[in-house]
Amino acid sequence: MKNLVWIQGLTCNGNSHSFLSINDTMLDVFLSNINILYHPMLTSEMEFKDVYKLLLSGKESLNFLVVEGAVNTKKDEVFFQGFDVFEILNNLKDKSDYILAVGNCACYGNFPALYNENVKGLQYRFKDKGGFLGEDFKTKSGYPIINITGCPAHPEWIVRTILSLNFGYDIKLDNLNRPKDFYMYLAHDGCIRNEYFEWKVEAHEFGTKEGCLFYELGCRGPLTHSPCNKILWNEKSSKTRSGMPCIGCTEFDFPLRSKYFETKTNIGIPEEVPLGVTKRAYIMLSGVAKTFTNQRLNKKLEDTD
């Protein structure tokens, strides 16, 4: 079995709890394939200092190093189990087959990076490459830091990525080092409000099943790389399915934005349009769509045929 060690920097523990919300089938498969040598919330037999010693001496191999939380490029700022995270990472970076940054803090710095300029993600600080480990860093396997973004990351994105690597598959990464298998989708894909999006029928306020949240309520679904509506949360739902706009939490700029529940517009047109479409084409398309009336979409959903 391959060894996994999970460490934490500046974090809310949200990714650990997301991971623990995995369904029991996936958990069983995961635990029977991967040996969790250390996780700060779970391990009871060994302390980190003993695991760390085994890794440093090479007595145990380190296949997967999972990092949750932002890190600091200065020493003596962020601690994990009595050790400086700065040192842990420098000592383990060349010993790990794969390093996974799990969650937006470990990937891009996220909220903690807003407070402190020395706080960074592992290979990025927001959009800038060259986080803690520098621009060109690669692990033993030849992969850069694999970013499983999200605030938090979905448990299946984490578990399936690790299992894919464990089973020997190559995984394709996008330009922000995220596995394509997950991040080639948009939050928009699979949204149950898509019919409203197509016909440009807007939701003007919250608390209804009808209307698209993109035009007025700040939804980032058509601009956010994430399979939230393909691989549902807690196997039940997603933000947009429950009427909450997508806040774009899998993207580097998530904490840099403001007014998450409003769509910034210019003369009534969204400042940012869906990915892959030019603004001009989008305006034309919207105009055309609005000239048609889809009777279905003007009624309460319960009253439609």
Binding site: L27, F80, F206, E235, K236, S258
Partner: protein, 450 residues
């Protein structure tokens, strides 16, 4: 005097315990030390008021939903303080309470099985205790399965857990169907069965009538709580780990939690008596500071908050009796958390059945950009009383102050008093027990330093 530094495993976040040992081999002083400050209160300054709905859940990965609710409450109170109408339907109130309580159940289950019981593997290694072993034990796996189940209730109404912001001033974003409510009901029902069968070993009706420890043990057909009580009695932890006899609950969750304060006797809560102390926080005091957390005092006194405080301020007979005999020992503190799982689940079922889907989910309030002034949001979170205070000008945050439950229980000391957790480990002779007593407060350094 010998000083020992211990790094805690199996807690939320990173916490150190500095223990001072006297010549008789007993703990004479203790410091709870937390680093990894993230600066949320400062990040919030200058932000648009509604952005706090997205930012604040990120303070904590396990009680982020409680932070969301505290934020919403604070903003809704801003409206009320400014005499601007804000209307929230009964339906929205019930659903917010249901999702908040789902998070509490999730927390207590994980905490009892993943954090607390594995300690006893050190005392009683056997085939029986192996069931509780992390990663392999069937009881460990089952607890994790059911904690994942109950958060599905949050997902049904709020889209996801952790970290949704579906609750907003004026209500909630979702408009659930009747079948969504049935979906949630079936999850809660299954959880109740699990808790009856595996934890308490008796029906919930029987458990709610139990008045003391003997009666519990005689009526229970055997469950994990019975095993746990047995472990505690054998190790002396039924009597160890006592702290100050002061308790606080700042918010009522009708009908299972009542607000109140206990000093010598129970008295009425006066929120104006709550003060933060910063004398030993490194951020404000480089010389005397030893942690990145403030402490909190009520009327100058340290207070315990959390499930045991809630049971005592709610005057639950079983806990009044347990407290009389064992005080706030390790056993009683842990039992109160486990007890709350069942009490809350039963009420969740009732609340779910009370939802009227024909009511509105959300009633748009007047523009928040007109808001001025300050307001508090009070919430009962898993670990105890959570307070948010926001100051606003024209819908922009001027200052944001957060008092978390862990600051009450484990925050820094003041010149007169140690924190309740620091006090609770005094006199112990075993460093493992000191860790266990600390864990009985359900440590969350993430919230502690935020």
């Amino acid at each position: 005097m010998r000083v020992q530094k211990i790094v805690l495993n199996r807690v939320e976040g990173d916490v150190n315990l500095k223990l001072c040992w006297d010549q008789n081999g007993k703990i004479s002083d203790a410091y709870v030390v937390a680093y990894n400050y993230r600066g949320f209160e400062r990040i919030l300054q200058g932000k648009d008021l509604l952005d706090a709905l997205v930012i604040n859940p990120r303070i904590c990965g396990i009680c982020g939903h409680a932070h969301l609710m505290a934020t919403v409450n604070a903003i809704e109170n801003l409206y009320k303080n400014s005499s601007i109408d804000i209307e929230i339907t009964e339906k929205a109130k019930l659903i917010k309470q249901i999702t908040l309580c789902s998070e509490i159940v999730q927390n207590h289950l994980k905490w009892f099985y993943l954090f607390v019981i594995p300690d006893f593997l050190n005392f009683f290694p056997s085939l029986e205790t192996e069931k509780f072993k992390p990663f392999v034990g069937e009881k460990w796996k089952k607890a994790l399965k059911f904690s994942s189940e109950i958060v599905k209730v949050i997902a049904i109404f709020g889209g996801q857990w952790p970290h949704t912001s579906y609750a907003i001033p004026g209500g909630i974003t979702s408009e659930p169907l009747k079948t969504d409510i049935v979906d949630a009901l079936s999850i809660v029902d299954r959880l109740i069965k699990y808790v009856e069968e595996e934890i308490f070993g008796m029906s919930y009706e029987d458990y709610l009538n139990v008045k003391d420890l003997e009666e519990f043990l005689s009526k229970s057909k055997g469950g994990d709580l019975t095993t746990f009580i047995d472990f505690c009695v054998k190790t002396g932890l039924d009597k160890e780990g006592q702290s100050y006899e002061h308790f606080i609950t700042v918010s009522t969750v009708y009908p299972c939690i009542n607000e109140g304060v206990i000093k010598k006797k129970k008295c009425k809560l006066n929120l104006k008596k709550i003060k933060e102390v910063k004398d030993f926080n490194i951020l404000y005091n480089k010389e005397t500071g030893y942690t990145y957390a403030n402490g909190v005092r009520y009327d100058g006194l340290p207070m315990q908050t959390g499930p045991l405080a809630r049971r005592l301020t709610s005057e639950t007979e079983l806990f009044l009796n347990l407290y009389r005999l064992y005080k706030d020992s390790y056993l009683v503190r842990v039992w109160a958390r486990v007890d709350e799982i069942l009490r809350i689940l039963i009420n969740m079922k009732d609340w779910l059945l009370k939802i009227n889907v024909n009511e509105k989910s959300y009633i748009k309030p007047k523009d928040y950009k007109k808001l001025y002034g300050e307001a508090f949001g009070y919430v009962e979170a898993s670990r105890g009383s959570l307070i948010h205070k926001v100051k606003v000008e024209k819908g922009v945050i001027k200052s944001y102050n957060i008092i978390t439950p862990t600051m009450w229980n484990l925050g820094s000391r003041c010149n007169k008093f140690k924190s309740p957790a620091e006090k609770a480990v005094l006199g112990l002779e075993d460093p493992l027990k000191a860790q266990m007593v600390l864990r009985s407060f359900d440590v969350c350094s993430v919230c502690l330093t935020h």
